[in-house]
Structure formats: structure tokens, C-alpha cells
Amino acid sequence: MSGEYTVSREDWSLHRKGEIDRERHREKVREAIKKNLADVVSEESIILSDGRKVVKVPIRSLEEYHFRFDSGKRKHGGQGQGDTKEGDVLGSDQRQAGPGKGKGAGEEPGVDYYEAEITIDELAQLIFEDLGLPNLQPKKKHELASEAFEFKDIRKKGISSNIDRKRTILEALKRNARQGRPDSKKITKEDLRFKTWDITYKYESNAVVLAMMDTSGSMGPYEKYIARSFFFWMVRFLRTKYQNVQIVFLAHHVEARETTEEEFFTKGASGGTRCSSVYKLALEIIESRYSPDDYNIYAFHFSDGDNLTSDNEKCVSYVKELLQLCNLVGYGEIEGPYYHTSTLRTALKKIVDLKFTSVGIKGKSDVYPALKTFFNPHPENKAQ
């Protein structure tokens, strides 16, 4: 029965279509993430990622839309182990089990939105592309160094991705010429030349950032979450882009205190609110540790604005004092989803100073715009 079948094994190493289209898909995922940064920035899975390197972000825009049935309104067929009864629960839809619950694609019908995996570093790169410390000014002490790689050395040994082709060919030509041949034949090992790099430091001005957060009782889990997601990205951003930026964490309710980074991001507190306490502490810290002559100083405060009315005037005057010392003072007020009674922002509105910026945050998607407003490297052309 020969001739009716063939078996073969071919060389498929050049078949790259799947990989090429996969790369195109990845490109589109990145584009989509970039377009939806505002939503992605405050994804729980990232903020609560516990140092995990890869996070999943849902990307709706890459779904392949078509006319389809609403799977939640249909009956589906399944198969049990032998004793299934009417009314048995097979599973529940995690996504809707309550606001703020983690999302997770299940195997049940209809749940097929696309989750892209992306490393936090990659995401940070997208987010930080347009961000920078505003009004950065030269100061006496230059400590804020950023690493720079410079290829300036040529060696005979190195890694093959760093081959200096031009010099290698030149060497080959020279060697051939020495041996009386006008053209180059084969490149030998001794012709190889490699580029190699030196690490140099680009020195920039010193900077210190004061991160101030309201942790009083009126700041519910939602408000704290918003404030923390802002500070999460702020800290990452500062550490990614600048070598020696210093960050001081301050938490307050009625009284203010300096905290460790971990405490700042994890610990809750309760009690009333007196915002002036944190401004006062900030002023003291600046005075004792960070002279404006040596440092670019930034102060950011997040609160729900629910401050003691009697304290507001004090706040205004402290903020004015801070403005004398700082390159920028930013105030972010989180407007809760249910009710909102701002006292602080209304009071701070009196301040007219280019170095003062305040933003209102209504929802998770306002965190990214807040970052963009506060870390606008060129505040003179405010595009937003």
C-alpha cells in the first residue's frame, strides 16, 4: 500500500509567522496599555503586587468584538460527576462579587476579556515616559546622579553583540595589506574588535520629596488606596529616574509623624484631622535637614479635605511658607464616591502661586492625570 501516505520531518526553523504576529500583538498590547494608562495605573493587582515582577492588566480594547449572545442570560451545557442536582452551584462570578474585588478570568462562559502580562518595570517605563521633576534647579551640592553608559573603549575581547564591525573590517584590511593582499578575504579571530562601555555619572541637582498623607478616620480604605497608588508610582518614578533622590514619608491625623516607607504604605490610623500638623512637621524637617540652597524640595500632600475648619487658616499660612522653600507644592484631594465636603481645598484655593498645584481626584482613573500634573517637567506649557 505504498504511495498512499508520506511521512516527513522538515526544517521549520525559518517558519516565524506565529512569532511575528505574536510580536505585532504585543505591540498592540503596549499601545493599548499606553492609551489606558489612567485605568491601568490604579489597578489593584499592581499596587498590591507585593513586589511581584509581572502583573496582569486587563485590556478591553484588544478584545475581538463580534456579535455574540449574552452568556449571562443563556443556559449552557455541562457534565457532572454523577450526582448533580438542580440548584447546585458550580461556581460564582468573582468579578462582580463586590466592588474593589480582584478581577480574575474564570473558566465559566463569557469571561474572556484579555489580560496582558507586563512587568512592572515595563509599565513604569510607559508611565514615566513624559514625567519629570518640575522646576529642577542647580544647587550647590551635586548629589543627584543618574547613570549613563558610554561606549568609548575598543578592545580585542568582548561579547559578540558588541562587535565593532567597521573597526573589525578595517583590521582585516590592514592585516591583509601587511601580508601583501590588497583585498580582505577572511576575517580572523585576531581582527575582531569589540566596543565596550564605561559607566559615567551624570550629576544633577539634589532633590528631596516630602510625601504627606492623611491617615485620619475619615480616610476610608478607598481614599487611602487612591493616595497610596499615587505615592506608589511617585516613589517608583523617583527611584527609576533619579539616583539619589530622597523621600521623606510623613503621615498625620491630628498629629503628624515621620514614618518608614513600609509603615507609610501599610499602616492605617484613625482619629480626627488637623492638616496643619503635617505642614508644620515638613517645615521643621526642611529647616533641620534640607537647606533650600542645597536641595530642590517637593512637597505632596493627599487628603480627603475633611479638616477641622478652625485649622484651615493655619494650613494656608504654612503652605505659603512651604512655597518659599519648595520648587513645587502639590495638594491632591480625594473626593469619595458617596459624599464629599471639602474644607481644605476651598481654603487653599486662595493661594495664587505658580508653584502651587492642587488636583481633585474623583476616581481611580484620576491618579494618572494627577501624576502628570505634579510631575510635569515643563510646567510652563501645561498641556492638560
Binding site: 455541562g78 457534565q79 448533580t84
Partner: protein, 500 residues
């Protein structure tokens, strides 16, 4: 093992398996087996064909399959293509036993492709056609730019399921004449209650009066009359309507009547449509086809001389394939059990079946071959899913109540009928073009033929812009949401909806 040696061994097995399969009367095309590394099989799997055009959606599918494979979550052992000769790809690294099982499985698939009625219009030269089409699309990318071609492909792909695989049964020419007649008869008659204008029911009325007596179907004829009631005047205007009859094949309609389409765009539509027509029968016969292949790989493996180790390995692989799932019907499992059941029932009919249906017994094999030739999943389930099967294998229907997915039906008839409903039109909504010149503004009016299931409105609203992209003008879509008739409109800018 040396690659050459492995191929030798494979060839020997293939010969053996082919002989057994022929003895069992399986009837397949010449086979072309190719051993491939995993990423190649995954790439073929995500494109549906080795030679298909390039698009990011295939890259997405490929990424998903590859990731699942890399994390050891799933594994495909083979891929087989409906073509003559039949191409089958074996996964490099399969053990010899796995390959034996796969070869037997693949031969049965090929027998199914060759003999099942629903495949008899599929092109067996699709490997080549798709390759040529892919070249053309690549050419368009060079000429018009990748982004432009890609975004048009996005739009057409989102509508690829909106075709009519049965259009060849009445391609429309016949309808045209009938429809014109209808127009005339309308003008000649007045439509008053019992006299009707529509060509078809006109004849029916005759039939009824010819016999002069009432029939059990009178209520049906009357239904038609009622629908015609009072619509006569409109009918006169409707004569010039495009399409003359509601058209299920959205792609064909837009390809023929889209005013602003360029030639390359029409070509892209026709490519996607042809490819989808080729894949449609596979979607229609998933349970039957996988069940058939599973049935035969079992029978064939039983005829092989397996060592004890081999038998154990085969049993493991096989049971992995037929694993039941609480959220889905496993086509391999259900299909297999149904063929076995049919064979058993036709071999040993009950006394009642002998008497009532005149089944002599001993016709099991003959019957399953007949079933594989004439049915699709829908009729297969409707005709052969018995109470015993539903109960023995604990099949059920489930639905969403609140946040929970709950078992809603265990009654066997409801389960069977529920499965049948979900198989209708391959589980996809039935949508027709009602009017290609809506409001005399060249807009397109689509209607969802609602048969009990609402559409996913989120998806609907995001698919309409794709229709707009192809049609070039405003798109309207009529459907029913929660019992109310709703018209969605996308005007090129935003989607709006209103109750009608």
C-alpha cells in the same frame, strides 16, 4: 532515537494502522504526515492552517496556546487539515504510542471530512488557496500600508461569522422572480383578511381550497395570513428593496453592495468569507467529528499489539482526552458515548424497537457510518441523545443566577433541547441585512432574528463600528433586549439606542 529510525518506526505503524482502518471500512484521502516542533503546531493551530494570512489576532491565539503549553496546562498532539491529500501534523516528542493513537485519530477525522455531507462543498485545495490569498494580502500591505490593511481586516474578521453556509441551496436568483410576482399580485388584489398577497401563502390558500377540507395545519396557513394583513400597501414600495429578502450573509451583501469599497477591500472580504465557509462545517460537527475520531482510535488501538507499558500509556493519554468538564460538554467524550450507544441500540434493538421501527438488529456499524455521513451536531444531539445517556453521564444545563452559576435543568428532554438550541447556527446569533438603503440614505439596517437569547450589548455596541468601517455609512441594528425591541445606531461617531 535517531530521527531516521524514528521515521522508519512511524512508517511501519502507519502502514499497520492504515490496514486496520481500511478493514474497518474507513475511507480517507491519501495522507501526508509531518513531524513538527511544538511552536509550529501551535502556530498552525492558531491560524487553522499553515498557509493562512498574517494578523495580530492569530498572534494573540498563538501566544495563548504557547503559554498554556509552556506552563504545561494543555497540549495538542496533532493537527489535521481537511484537504486532499490530507495533511496531518504530529507533535515532535510524542511517544510512539501517542503517535499511534494520533494517527488512528487523524485517519478517522479524514474519513469524516471526506464523507460527511456538510463537508461536500468545502474546497479540498484550501492549503493552496489560503497561501495565494495570504500573498495577495501581503501585496496590499505593501501597496496601501500595513495599518490600513490591518484595520480593515480587523473589521472584516469581526464579521466573519456572519455568513450563510447554506446559501448555495437558494442563491437568490429564484427568489428574485418570486418576489416580483408578489409585487404584481399585490397591485391586483386588495388584501383583506382572508385573501393574501404574498406569493407563497397565495399558493397555500389554493391548496387548501382545492382539497376543500380543513387540515391539521390550518393554523399554520392562518399565521401567514395574519402576518400579511395590512402590509399590502407597504409591499408596493418594498419592491425595489435591497436585499429583496433578508440576507444572512452580511459579508457577501456588503461585498456586493458596499458603495465605497475599493477592489482590494472587496477581495479581502471575499478571502475571509471563503475561509470561513471552509471552516464552518468543522464548527458544525465538532462533537460528531471528535467523537468519531475518538471512537476509531479506541477501536484501532485495540487491534494493535501493545505491550503492557504501551497499553497503560495509551489508557492515560486517552482518558486525558475524554475528561468531562463541569462548564462545557467535552465533544470527544459525548461524541464517543453517543456513537457507542447508537451502535449498541442498532445491534440489539429492544422488542419495541424491533416492532415499531422494524430494526432487525446487527446493524450497529452500518448505522454509525450512516450517521457520520448525514448528520451535524445539531441533528446528532436532537436525534440520538437519549434519556439513558443524559442520566448516565450526568449532563445538565446551568445558568447564571445572581453571581452564581447554578444547575438549572436535569430533566433529560430539557437538557437535550437546551444543547440543541445552543448548537443552532453554531451557537452564533442569526443576523440579517434588512435594508441596504435605509431611509434612502444608503445606510444599512440589520436585524437580529431573536430566538430567545439576548445579545451581549457591550459587544454589540463595539461591533457596529466595524460594520460601519466596511459599509461606510450609518449602521442600524434591531434586536430585543429584556423583552423590548431596541434599535442601536452607529453614525460613524457614536452609538445611540432607542426603543422601537
Amino acid at each position: 532515537m535517531h530521527p531516521q529510525e524514528e521515521i522508519k518506526k512511524l512508517e511501519k505503524s502507519i502502514e499497520q494502522i492504515t490496514d486496520i482502518a481500511r478493514k474497518f471500512n474507513l475511507d480517507f484521502y491519501n495522507m501526508y504526515f509531518e513531524i513538527c516542533p511544538a511552536d509550529i503546531i501551535y502556530s498552525f493551530g492558531s491560524y487553522g492552517m499553515p498557509t493562512r494570512f498574517s494578523h495580530w489576532t492569530f498572534g494573540k491565539a498563538y501566544h495563548k496556546m504557547k503559554t498554556q503549553y509552556d506552563y504545561n496546562l494543555s497540549r495538542i498532539y496533532e493537527m489535521v487539515i481537511n484537504s486532499d491529500p490530507c495533511y496531518a501534523f504530529l507533535l515532535e516528542g510524542n511517544s510512539l504510542v501517542q503517535n499511534k493513537m494520533v494517527i488512528a485519530h487523524v485517519l478517522a477525522h479524514c474519513d469524516f471530512f471526506k464523507n460527511n455531507y456538510y463537508f461536500n462543498r468545502t474546497s479540498r485545495k484550501m492549503v493552496e488557496s489560503m497561501s495565494v490569498a495570504a500573498d495577495r494580502i501581503r501585496g496590499y500591505e505593501f501597496k496601501f500600508g500595513r495599518d490600513k490593511v490591518e484595520s480593515f481586516l480587523d473589521a472584516v474578521i469581526s464579521l466573519q461569522e456572519n455568513i450563510d453556509s447554506e446559501r448555495h441551496i437558494d442563491p437568490g436568483e429564484g427568489k428574485k422572480k418570486k418576489y416580483k410576482n408578489k409585487g404584481h399580485s399585490c397591485r391586483e388584489q386588495t388584501c383583506s383578511g382572508d385573501k393574501c398577497c404574498q406569493g407563497s401563502c397565495h399558493r397555500d390558500t389554493h391548496r387548501q381550497s382545492d382539497s376543500g377540507q380543513s387540515t391539521p395545519y390550518d393554523d399554520l396557513w392562518n399565521l401567514d395570513k395574519r402576518e400579511c394583513d395590512g402590509k399590502c400597501d407597504e409591499a408596493e414600495d418594498e419592491v425595489k428593496r435591497i436585499p429583496e429578502q433578508p440576507e444572512k450573509d452580511l459579508l457577501l451583501f456588503m461585498m456586493n453592495y458596499g458603495r465605497d469599497l475599493q477592489d482590494w477591500q472587496r477581495d479581502v472580504i471575499s478571502i475571509i468569507r471563503e475561509e470561513m465557509l471552509y471552516f464552518w462545517p468543522q464548527m458544525q460537527t465538532k462533537i460528531m467529528n471528535e467523537g468519531w475520531a475518538t471512537y476509531w482510535h479506541m477501536r484501532i488501538m485495540r487491534e494493535m499489539d501493545l505491550t503492557e507499558d504501551e497499553a497503560v500509556e495509551f489508557a492515560k493519554t486517552h482518558s486525558g482526552v475524554i475528561q468531562p468538564s463541569k462548564y462545557q460538554i467535552n465533544p470527544y467524550y459525548l461524541g464517543l458515548k453517543m456513537y457507542e450507544d447508537i451502535e449498541k441500540r442498532w445491534d440489539n434493538p429492544t422488542d419495541e424497537e424491533k416492532e415499531k421501527y422494524g430494526r432487525p438488529g446487527g446493524e450497529g456499524k452500518q448505522k454509525i457510518f450512516e450517521v457520520r455521513e448525514t448528520e451535524n451536531d445539531l441533528s446528532f444531539i436532537r436525534n440520538y441523545l437519549t434519556r439513558e445517556l443524559v442520566e448516565e453521564y450526568d449532563l445538565y444545563l446551568y445558568k447564571k443566577i445572581g453571581y452564581d452559576w447554578k444547575v438549572s435543568d436535569k430533566d433529560w428532554e430539557k437538557v437535550r433541547d437546551g444543547l440543541v438550541i445552543n448548537l443552532y447556527n453554531c451557537g452564533l446569533p442569526y443576523i440579517v441585512v434588512e435594508d441596504g438603503d435605509f431611509g434612502k440614505r444608503g445606510e444599512i439596517y440589520l436585524r437580529h432574528v431573536h430566538e430567545g437569547s439576548d445579545l451581549d450589548v457591550y459587544y454589540l455596541e463595539r461591533t457596529l463600528p466595524h460594520v460601519y468601517k466596511v459599509w461606510g455609512r450609518a449602521v442600524h441594528m434591531e434586536t430585543i433586549v429584556d423583552g423590548k425591541k431596541v434599535l442601536f445606531t452607529f453614525n460613524g461617531d457614536k452609538t445611540s439606542k432607542k426603543f422601537i
